[in-house]
Symmetry: C2
Subunit: 131 residues, 2 copies
Amino acid sequence: MYIKDLAQAVDIPISTIRYYERKKLLTEEHFSRLDNNYRIYNEQAVERLQLIRAGQQAGITLSEMQAYIDDWEDNNLTDDDKRMFFNAKLAEIEDRLLGLQQVREYVLSKLEHLDNEDTQLAFNHPCEDIK
Amino acid sequence: MYIKDLAQAVDIPISTIRYYERKKLLTEEHFSRLDNNYRIYNEQAVERLQLIRAGQQAGITLSEMQAYIDDWEDNNLTDDDKRMFFNAKLAEIEDRLLGLQQVREYVLSKLEHLDNEDTQLAFNHPCEDIK
DNA sequence: GTAAAGTATGAACTATAGTTTAATGTCAAC
DNA sequence: GTTGACATTAAACTATAGTTCATACTTTAC
């Protein structure tokens, strides 16, 4: 899979794919080189890029992801280290999920308020300020 | 309320508060000046900063917020405009929630993998659900 | 009345996440 | 054998969201 094909497969610009490689988020495991020096990517590359995008959606930065991947792939860690690491990450994720859900409620309430406004406008009620 | 008090009230650095002012996210409506040129903030400032933080949680950039607040306060937006804006934001939030849940599943699967390893190694109890 | 703490300003600096550019190499088609 | 589409690199550039710095003025504490 040439870089162009990978870019199309995951809908990420070629320049960004090379940037991720510079940032060590893509390594030798994700591609090899042809004689002409062109990169040839494998399926792991697709998965890694999808994981990066999922992580970004979740508000995890590239360096956080990098650190996480490093820690995972470093076998200096005992199972307990790993468990602690993942439990910590999980707690962070749960926190973020909660926050995000709150913001969703907030946005939803604004939408409802707008809809109520419509019904109320007919009766000329004064509109209170939104939050 | 001096800038220090505001900073404490909303847990945002003083430098960031001044930065938001530079970015026009805080205006004359949110503070006045003493004779010595010190800013004195009002409750609206607290609310505005909380709104900014909530917006950021929802993935709204400062310039988006700036444009949105301007339009909102100039009454340039119809209710349908507002509805469309919030619906778009809602879709983005749902996206982020999905991404976050994917990452949680991924982390959970890693933890389960570790625990299964343990079960085989040490006859440990199966792992109860975390969180 | 001097030092420490707080406030002000503008400008430079930082980090993150890329994008763009320039210069060059490769390959397939005509 | 030249054109065009693709590939390579390093380096410069951009935008966002701040932070830090240098310098200076004000207020509070001792």
